[in-house]
């Protein structure tokens, strides 16, 4: 069965979604990630969706779920690289992904994770989206 690989980078987990995910694959990712966070005691998860051309309500829900479940396991989630067309479409769909922190790219995302894990909430906080 195909799976989306999860990489361990220090105390963080990195997931790069490059395929058009069907629902089953998304559910599997959700499960695998939750497992791995728990197993490795990861402090943060970085999800790179810069190759994802479609994010519909199911995928959106998956991202929100991952963020929520990670938080319960005391890990931060950052989603990076959302494409403009995807962002515009999500907004039109009415999804704002509350509880999901975002960054422009992997570098920015890692910076955000590192600073939020190290006590202070990063350069600016109060982003309650």
């Amino acid at each position: 069965m195909e799976k989306i690989p999860i990489l361990k980078m220090g105390e963080f987990l990195l997931v790069t979604i490059q395929v058009d995910m069907h629902d089953q694959l998304a559910m599997t990712l959700q499960d695998d990630l939750t497992q791995m966070i728990s197993q490795t005691e990861a402090r943060g998860v970085l999800i790179d969706i810069s190759s994802l051309e479609i994010v519909d309500s199911f995928i959106g829900r998956m991202l929100a779920n991952i963020a929520a479940m990670s938080r319960v396991l005391d890990a931060q989630t950052v989603v990076v690289g959302m494409q403009p067309a995807v962002a515009i479409t999500l907004v039109e769909l009415g999804l704002s992904l509350p509880g999901v922190r975002t960054a422009l790219n992997v570098d920015a995302g890692m910076e955000l994770l590192r600073s939020s894990v190290n006590g202070y909430k990063g350069i600016y906080d109060g982003r309650s989206h």
């Binding site: 058009d20 995910m21 089953q24 479609i54 479409t89 769909l93």
Partner: protein
């Protein structure tokens, strides 16, 4: 309105959603849609295809390429499922009969230029969306 080409896609099981996305994307590209419009129509199709499978028990999508005087893509999702008793409710965001965020109908409607739904309890559901270029 001239229908230039039609395609019929089975929408029965969950992997078909990906197939629908791919076919709709190809058609949108061929019709010269902008990237944002492509994304909107593919996402709407994804929502409706999933509805057809999960709530409709499986069905089909008819894809029509329209060319004259305007260029556009028209998708019709049909199923012989239980149907929707209160369509207005269903179109309201957050409405759900199953688990999750709801039927996604309201969202799909906002992504399209035209939206039409015919559904009655016990008589299946037919959703037609059109995205003009």
């Amino acid at each position: 309105m001239t229908v230039v080409a039609t395609e019929n896609v089975a929408v029965i099981a969950e992997p078909d959603v990906v197939a629908v996305r791919r076919r709709v994307r190809e058609a949108a590209i061929q019709l010269g849609f902008s990237l944002v419009d492509q994304t909107k129509v593919v996402t709407a199709a994804s929502e409706l295809a999933r509805n057809t499978i999960i709530y409709g028990g499986g069905g089909s999508m008819l894809m029509e390429r329209l060319n004259g005087p305007r260029t556009g893509l028209r998708l019709t999702f049909k199923d012989d499922g239980p149907g929707i008793s209160d369509i207005d409710m269903a179109l309201r965001d957050g409405f759900t009969t199953g688990s999750g965020l709801g039927l996604g109908l309201g969202g799909a409607k906002r992504l399209c230029s035209e939206f039409d739904i015919v559904s009655q309890p016990g008589a299946g559901t037919k959703v037609t969306i059109t995205r003009w270029k």
